[in-house]
Amino acid sequence: MTAKDATSPLGRFWVEFKESRTAVAALGVVGVIVLLAVLAPLIAPQNPYDLAKLVLMDARRPPGFVGSNGFTHWLGTDAQGRDLLSAILYGLRISIQVGLIAGAIAFIMGATLGATAAYFGGRIEALLMRIVDLQLSFPAILLALVLSAILGQGKWQLVAALVTAQYAYFARTTHGAAAAERSKDYVDAALSTPLSAARVVFRHILPNCLPPLIVVATIQIANAISLEATLSFLGLGLPVSEPSLGMLIANGFQYMLSGRYWISIYPGVALIVLIVAINLVGDQVRDQLNPRLKR
């Protein structure tokens, strides 16, 4: 199938995307994982947070153990006797949720800031971009770490920390793209009509900055999931009532030294597969949108 068969821009994009088998496979993996996470309450063998169903006698059993309530724990059980497969499915839900929410808010904040700076230019632009540059010179992990320490544990506190650590990447990218768009004729044409500045920024400039932003968004969602896991592992992220993958790994860490690897390793494998798959998709999208690599 050639690019001619597809008519819409999205269709052409998909045709090109399909050329990379790795990327299609990665996209499939992301889709399956998201589906598993969404459907977790329906497909998980056990509700891992229903305390009445937990049997302490079954705690820390290896993969394949048949529990006292009759069904097989394919990935073993954790310290409280939870079925690990179920805990991972529920953990994925929380990790993906936090990553998506943080990514979306950072996207909106960063894009607005970057486009506004590019639109106004002059001192406002210089000041805003100077702040963004300064923030980008600090490692995101450090900012997120300090903020979650200050804000305390909790889902929204964590989201706030992740957004603060990540919005600057979106602002930077939008600003670069919007500054290039700003000098084009269609923007001048739009400005010569009695449209408000806000309308020109959001309806005319921003949509043309979307391609590079999509790339940044993919990679930043993967980063948000990874950061959340790191913070939760260090005990600074989510509260115990929201057991994400990072926390499952942290809970299993102490048992790993005595050889009970599965409590940490399997949630970790789920996390890695998810992050690597998202990054592979992001890599392909970036290559496709990079005009320098066009044949």
């Binding site: 300064l134 010179s137 450090l142 320490a149 990874s226 030294l257 050889g259 992050i275």
Partner: protein, 323 residues
Amino acid sequence: MLGFVIQRLLQAFVVMLIISLLVFVGVYAVGNPIDVMISPDATQQIREATIKAYGLDQPLWQQYATFLGRLMRGDFGRSFVFNMPVLDLIFSRLPATLELTLAAVLGATLLGVPLGMYAGYRPDSRFGKLVMAVSILGFSVPTFWIGLVLIFTFAVTLGWLPAGGRGATQSVFGVEWSFLTADGWRFMLLPAINLALFKFALMVRLARAGTRETMLTDTVKFARAAGLSEWTILRRHVLRLIAIPIVTVFGLEFGSTLAFAVVTETIFSWPGIGKLIIDSISTLDRPVMVAYLMLVALLFIMINFLVDIAYAALDPRLRVKRA
């Protein structure tokens, strides 16, 4: 040029002041350190005396003013938990972080650059593709997870290396170093590999991209025409041309690795400043948190300042535009 330097110095100073305010107010919003410092069954008198002794009864702006005044004299206060001057505490932990960071960044560069050059020289070879695959993994997989896998493989399953701690050290001018003893290296190896993997991935990418571009230039064609061996071309010409971005990134990464070491140090119980900050967050040791954050901010602002100056020295347009 002098005007530009002075302007940037003033900017850096203002930024430091703002950061000090943010850090101070932010950290002082965290919990109540009095509960950590004195036992719960202490009398009300002891409680109030302790609060007074640490100046915690004063309004926030007054505490900040006192803090700034001390800071100017290089006094960061005393740790609540260790009951020693914070600066001494941080400097006693700094060598551990410094040698770990140096081992990681040096190792990543010495291994990553040649491998990346090979992957750029033979991009379609099997080994070149393998190097790139490892580098993609190094980018995507979170540091703490790699640390866990390393511990599980080499410490728990194989039992070759210790799972954490620092081991024997050798004292040089009153500073303890691990890299001088064989036992110290055994303890340092796993955390150093853990810390190095991300840098390694970065170096591989940089070297590969640089080599691919350079191999197509006239420099290489002329060198080949002159009859130089491929090995000499790679070593004498390509390596020199790609060295500039690599040296820049090496410097920048060294700074960020000092801060990034938090995760690795926590997993391997490596007694450096990264472990110190995590411990001080959980014990609400405010003076240590404030001092660590201020020092890290100072480090990054200094790096930025130097980069700005270097760029301005190299590109005259920046001096005119920004000054």
